[in-house]
Symmetry: C2
Subunit: 159 residues, 2 copies
């Protein structure tokens, strides 16, 4: 998260208490709607992502998994992440090898992030990708998903 910079990353403060409960509850509901199960490991990984102030690496999650400090086994976390991504509850940021909870309302949207090289904050946003993909259509590609990661400097970080 903010290790590389003295500034708060501030963009998406981690959830706690009621807000966290609400977010987890919303996830439960959406699972119920779609016959999917928010099982304990999946719920735990989502909770860790929601609590965090910034992107978490898989092995951060593995280390933090146990309530009493015992790490999870890697596949436990990787499987949960796969599930959470499939349902749109989380996104992987390829250029960081890290994960964030989804912060947007819309379902099935494409993952796009503004990543601050200074403070490490990763802000999800909704880009207008249509013009960018005109060339793809022209080339005959059927685009199924897009990831866009813009690196730069966030408003809170200095020149």
């Amino acid at each position: 998260m903010g290790e590389a910079c003295h500034h708060a990353d501030g963009v998406h403060p981690g959830l706690k208490g009621q807000a966290l409960k609400r977010a987890l509850g919303a996830a439960e509901s959406r699972c119920a709607d779609t016959q999917e199960r928010l099982t304990p490991p999946r719920r735990r990984v989502l909770e860790l992502l929601l609590e965090s102030d910034g992107p978490l690496k898989a092995y951060d999650l593995i280390a933090a998994y146990g309530e009493a400090g015992e790490p999870a086994k890697p596949p436990t976390v990787y499987r949960a992440l796969e599930f959470l991504e499939r349902l749109g509850f989380a996104h992987r940021i390829e250029s960081l090898n890290a994960y964030v909870p989804c912060r947007l309302e819309a379902d099935g949207h494409m993952a796009a992030f503004l990543i601050c090289d200074c403070c490490g904050a990763a802000q999800e946003f909704e880009p207008d990708l249509a013009p960018a993909l005109v060339a793809a259509k022209a080339a005959g590609y059927a685009v199924r998903s897009v990831t866009l990661e813009a690196r730069g400097r966030c408003p809170a970080c200095p020149e």
Copy 2:
């Protein structure tokens, strides 16, 4: 490359013979212009990328490095890749952990790829990113670089 699909990936056939020589020569020239050195390991890694029909993983390069089958040491290849990326001779595709030679004319362009989930082909293209980044500017981000990776199905692959 095409392992997952019986179709030729055809998009960027690897270079051979004269075409390969020309491409390497062009890289030499551009290095000479900028006081950079296309040393033997750098040249060899670029050659392997240019010869390939599709994206190569770092350990593919490591395995193929020696003319007589001896592998390179990992840092040799990673250092060469870092150099080639810095000069714009190669790009890393994050979602594949793989590398391709740059196929575009323009210097300093942003890396954008259409990746076929079926045959593994990765076609570089030049997207119109301005509309997508309007939201970034509005949020106060100073964007320095962008990677865009679109997954889907290429024209040569079946339904």
